[in-house]
């Protein structure tokens, strides 16, 4: 019982972070119908920017602002310099190769500059815990992580449903041509969306750093987990991304709790990641549109 409760709380904590990453992936999917394979590496550069800022004596808040700004700019650069120009090329997957290479360069640069060591988190939320009934202890940092991530996700969700920008994004998702005919500058919305997605991702990276530590070579893992969460909830659905992220977090932490209680060797950390990605493949194959969508939409995902 104690374990279940703890797994649930930490699952929601990490899950909220995954949700924030998945949100970015879903957003760029909505305006471009493409998966952003560079998402995790972009956000990792943002996180490393906070180290640099801190090393120059910036305050924690300033470092956070720097990190998010760097992430957003990098997202913008990805869209403007690689994605958009290559998207128009013949050869249906040229853009994919371009985005993958962009990610690879970021990763190689990160490894060259910061080695592939793990770094201590840029921010810390303390190590205290709150006692719950039944002897469970909830680490305070998970509450912070979950709180901030969920707050950010709610802000984004609000922006998508209530602002002109959000309506424009959803209009483009429905039909780019018709959105254009309504006077939407779709190119600009696409660029802005890449920036917002990268900013949200960077925030997620900063939040999860205290739990996982970060290293330059981990960007891909975040990309894959973000994809898993996004696909789990149905990619291109804002609330689906939230749901998928939380479910993924609970799934992971649940496996960890199971290992802790049973000592089962096949649940070690390495296998847990393998299980997550097996889940990703399974969803892609069995129901590519995720948990929350109609059958008629599935054809779209086959393309």
């Amino acid at each position: 019982m104690t374990l279940v409760l703890q797994a649930l709380v930490s699952g929601i904590g990490t899950g909220a972070v995954y949700a924030l990453i998945a949100l970015g992936i879903s957003l760029t999917w909505m305006v471009t119908r493409t998966l952003n394979f560079a998402h995790g590496d972009v956000l990792m550069v943002g996180v490393f920017a906070s180290f640099v800022a801190l090393a120059f004596g910036a305050s924690a808040v300033a470092a956070l602002v720097v990190a998010v700004a760097v992430g957003a700019l990098l997202g913008l650069a990805l869209e403007k310099s690689v994605f958009f120009p290559l998207r128009k090329r013949p050869g249906s997957l040229t853009w994919l190769l371009g985005v993958v290479l962009f990610a690879a360069v970021l990763r190689a640069a990160g490894i060259a500059l910061f080695e592939s060591r793990s770094y201590p988190p840029p921010f810390n939320f303390g190590t205290g815990g709150i006692d719950l009934p039944a002897g469970a202890v909830v680490p305070v940092q998970y509450l912070w992580i979950a709180g901030i991530a969920i707050a950010a996700a709610v802000v984004l969700d609000f922006a998508m449903s209530r602002t002109h920008y959000g309506r424009a994004v959803r209009a483009i998702a429905s039909s780019r041509d018709v959105a254009e005919l309504m006077g939407v500058n779709t190119e600009r919305i696409m660029a802005v969306t890449f920036a917002i997605a990268a900013a949200a991702g960077t925030l997620a990276g900063l939040l999860i750093a205290p739990v996982t530590f970060v290293s330059a070579s981990l960007g891909w893992v975040f990309t894959l987990k973000g994809f898993t969460a996004a696909v789990l909830g149905g990619i291109g659905r804002i609330r689906g991304a939230l749901l998928g992220g939380i479910l993924l977090g609970i799934f992971e932490q649940g496996l960890a709790a199971l290992e802790a209680s049973t000592g089962a060797g096949w649940l070690q950390a390495g296998y847990r990641d393998a299980a997550v990605f097996l889940l990703l493949i399974a969803i892609l194959v069995i129901k590519p549109s995720g948990l929350s969508s109609s059958r008629s939409e599935e054809a779209r995902y086959a393309a």
């Binding site: 959803r170 209009a171 998702a173 959105a179 005919l181 309504m182 006077g183 500058n185 779709t186």
Partner: protein, 249 residues
């Protein structure tokens, strides 16, 4: 010097390199006029509307709005100038509510909140059946309602020139009739409309002039009544009928 509202001059455009769907199109639309474009499939009617609305870049020729060149401008620059297109096939934003769809029509003046809410109010006054459905996702509406919404959304943009692409495509006769009714109403109010329509006879009733396109060029042009009764219209669809033979049922 006064200008036609819309002036298309020797327009050439197409999708694939080396093939012009529009070979040489010239036409004029005056203010407060309703003009219908007819013609067989593949004549370039929808392509013409796309080229005027900015979705397709002209390869040669001119498009002028009140004498000002607008050829090659992107739609987001044209909509604020009053060129508003309603695409064919009831393309509403299916995931968004009826009200949100209407708000998209007001996108170019989105910062003027008063104006937006005034327009929304007017739209719901005019289309009470949309008011009832305003929180519904547009994807759940019937075909006729979607077409109505699509036109209402276009009207939200306050068009000087409205481009309607096959507004009755795929609608039941009843729904088609109500769309023609709406077009007649808009005409009374002085909205300028250039539309593509395949139903010649009902379209003739609401149009001032009609233009027949064939193979990417204007083949015939005249008052609605004269074009409607011109046998050349039918033969452009079905080939020439031998003289002396009358249609049988």
């Amino acid at each position: 010097m006064s200008y036609n509202l819309l002036e298309v001059d020797a327009l050439r455009a197409g999708y694939l390199p080396g093939f012009d769907v529009l070979r040489d199109v010239s036409l004029r639309v005056d203010e407060h006029e309703v003009v219908t474009i007819l013609g067989p499939n593949g004549a370039g009617k929808s392509t013409l509307l796309k080229a005027i609305a900015g979705l397709l870049r002209p390869r040669a020729g001119h498009v002028r709005l009140q004498g000002e060149e607008i050829g090659g401008l992107a739609p987001h620059l044209l909509v604020p100038r009053g060129v508003v297109a309603v695409p064919s096939g009831r393309q509403v934003f299916t995931d968004q509510s009826v009200e949100e769809n209407l708000l998209m029509g007001a996108y170019h003046y989105r910062k003027d909140r008063n104006r937006v809410s005034r327009s929304i109010g007017q739209a719901f006054d005019r289309f009470p059946e949309l008011n009832v459905l305003k929180k519904r996702p547009a994807g759940n509406l019937s075909g006729g309602q979607q077409q109505l919404l699509s036109i209402a959304r276009g009207l939200m943009a306050r068009p000087k020139l409205m481009l309607l692409d096959e507004p009755t495509l795929g609608l039941s006769p009843l729904a088609a009739r109500s769309i023609f009714g709406l077009i007649a109403e808009l005409k009374q109010e002085g909205v300028t409309i250039l539309m593509v329509e395949k139903l010649v006879k009902p379209a003739a009733k609401v149009s001032d002039r009609m233009i027949v396109m064939e193979l990417g060029a204007v083949a015939l042009e005249g008052s609605a009544a004269s074009v409607r009764n011109d046998p050349a219209v039918l033969s452009s669809y079905l080939g020439k009928v031998e003289p002396g033979v009358t249609p049988v049922g």
